[in-house]
């Protein structure tokens, strides 16, 4: 876990106690995000949990009620211009001037960033829009508009890319394409990416680290591997004389639970399972089945966000 070793202050993006109140109600509360260089950080949460509000504050579009944002080791409030020069963003839905062509849309941003003209062609080729670049954007499909939005975000050669729900409204092929594009960026260009989503399945395939926000509070933040470890199974034993067997296991110090004829033991390593089976057999129990019960990542997520069912 490379990023956990980083000393405080060396994060590429860090927020401390970030809070936003709207009409007296805290929509974002004491959020401490930590994003390391080269991460693809999945920012997860149900709709309305405060993802977009947090992202707006990361970009200086909204002012925090309390707390601060540090990017590239500098305070955003004091160094907004310098920081934003190295940040590309796509918030909620793509912005586009429908009456202008794809190229002209990028030219608007290029002039403000003051980067060389070649960047336009480069950005267009990264998102594979070269063919349609001469057409007015109002005729683009949603997927193309989204890609143009990514091209705009990439125009300034950013070190940090902030993408809010980048696959929103795309069809499966478009989602697949966007996913490949996002995954390829850190390797090719050394970009760090923050991407928000309300779908774990979406982020799971791209992210190296996740943060989960629920009703404004960050309730989980760690590597995707640690999140997956949480899904480690419980072992279920079906045995004869379960009452006896259960008492014996408790005496031996195993945290076993009994449910009629089944006993379950959580987070058991292979060796533990082996010794439990040996003990049960020695005591004369018949062991009918030893099964692993694995919860899905999705159900862990749903449990955490407390949304059950759909998000």
């Amino acid at each position: 876990m490379k990023m956990m070793k980083q000393a405080s202050g060396s994060w590429l993006l860090e927020t401390k106690g970030l809070t936003k109140k709207l009409g007296g109600k805290a929509v974002v509360r004491d959020v401490d995000l930590r994003i390391g260089e080269g991460d693809i950080y999945g920012f997860l949460g149900p709709n309305g949990a405060g993802k977009t509000t947090t992202i707006r504050m990361l970009l200086g579009l909204a002012k925090p009620t309390r707390g601060g944002v540090t990017v590239f080791g500098k305070s955003l409030a004091a160094n907004r211009m310098e920081i934003l020069r190295h940040v590309g963003s796509l918030v909620e839905y793509p912005s586009y001037y429908g009456h202008l062509t794809g190229t002209e849309n990028l030219e608007v941003i290029r002039r403000l960033l003051d980067v060389p003209k070649e960047r336009i062609a480069e950005a267009l080729s990264i998102v594979r829009l070269e063919k349609d670049a001469g057409r007015a954007v109002k005729g683009y499909s949603l997927g193309m508009k989204q890609r143009l939005g990514i091209a705009a975000a990439l125009l300034g050669n950013p070190r940090l890319l902030i993408l809010d729900e980048p696959t929103n409204g795309l069809d499966p092929a478009g989602i697949q394409e966007m996913r490949e594009l996002i995954k390829s960026l850190p390797g090719q260009r050394g970009v760090t990416i923050l991407l928000s989503s309300h779908l774990l399945s979406e982020v799971e395939l791209m992210a190296t680290k996740v943060g989960i926000i629920r009703s404004g509070s960050l309730i989980y933040q760690d590597s995707i591997a640690s999140l997956k470890a949480r899904t480690a199974g419980r072992i279920r034993f079906s045995v004869s004389e379960p009452e006896d067997a259960w008492k014996r296991l408790l005496e031996l110090g195993f945290e076993a639970e009994r449910d009629q004829s089944r006993l379950t033991v959580g987070g058991a390593a292979d060796r533990t399972v082996a010794s439990i089976v040996a003990e049960l057999v020695r005591r004369g129990h018949s062991v009918y089945r030893v099964e692993e019960e694995r919860s899905s990542l999705e159900s862990v997520f749903l449990e955490m966000t407390g949304t059950g069912g759909s998000l």
């Binding site: 579009l61 002012k63 934003l84 912005s95 429908g98 202008l100 941003i109 003051d114 300034g156």
Partner: protein
């Protein structure tokens, strides 16, 4: 940076009707006056006797003021409307540009388009006078004064409409305010001198024209500052 903001604004109004609107004002005013003179040439020439230029300026001025009032509201609304329509405020303000530059860029676009309108009106008025065969001894000072002093006197309204149009996604309110302002300005003769709605008219006809233009300039800058202060503090959605 100012130049860059303006170049971006000009790029964005490509293929938009904004330029046409800026031209439509003066062309419409002079077109109507052409019809007016065409139909009532003898009457109007007799009315203004030996100062036909002054008469023409008076006629043009009476139409120019309402056109300026509503034109500035339309121009401000359409130039801010480009960003509202594109959902581009968030994109624009997440770029390394200051809010002052973004606000200033929009205001300058409106100022530039309206200045172009005023200049076009000057040229068309001149052309019409010469075509009607008025004395080639053109009263330059008068024409220039009438073309640009109302523009300065209307600055508070350019500032107000830009501000409202930028901070409100719904353009109905700014445009309604603009329309009411236009109609109100037609009653400038009944207004006390401190009311800004009368200033553009004063800048055309009265002895204190320069004062009206100067007040407009000062109040305009003040409204711009207030508008900018509001925009700078506003969260962008």
């Amino acid at each position: 940076m100012i130049g860059r903001m303006l170049s971006v604004e000009l790029l964005k109004i490509r293929r938009k009707l904004l330029w046409m609107l800026a031209a439509l004002g003066p062309v419409g005013v002079i077109g109507l006056q052409a019809v007016n003179y065409g139909l009532r040439y003898d009457y109007l020439m007799k009315l203004y006797g030996d100062s036909p230029w002054e008469g023409l300026l008076q006629q043009v001025g009476s139409l120019m003021l309402p056109a300026l009032f509503i034109g500035l509201a339309l121009v401000a609304s359409m130039s801010a409307g480009i960003e509202h329509q594109a959902g581009a405020w968030k994109q624009l303000l997440a770029l390394p540009v200051t809010r002052l530059q973004v606000f200033g860029g929009k205001v300058m676009l409106s100022l530039l388009l309206l200045l172009a309108s005023c200049t076009l009106l000057l040229l068309l008025t001149l052309g019409m006078g010469l075509l009607l065969g008025f004395d080639p001894q053109v009263p330059w000072a008068e024409i220039v004064r009438q073309s640009y002093l109302p523009y300065l006197a209307a600055l508070p309204f350019i500032a107000l409409q830009s501000w409202l149009s930028i901070v409100m996604a719904n353009q109905a309110l700014p445009l309604t305010v603009g329309t009411l302002g236009m109609v109100l300005s037609m009653f400038s003769l009944l207004m006390p001198a401190w009311m800004p709605w009368g200033w553009p008219d004063r800048a055309v006809r009265s002895a204190d024209a320069l004062q009206a233009a100067g007040s407009g300039l000062a109040l305009g800058v003040l409204v711009l500052l207030i508008g900018y202060a509001h925009f700078a503090r506003k969260d962008v959605s």
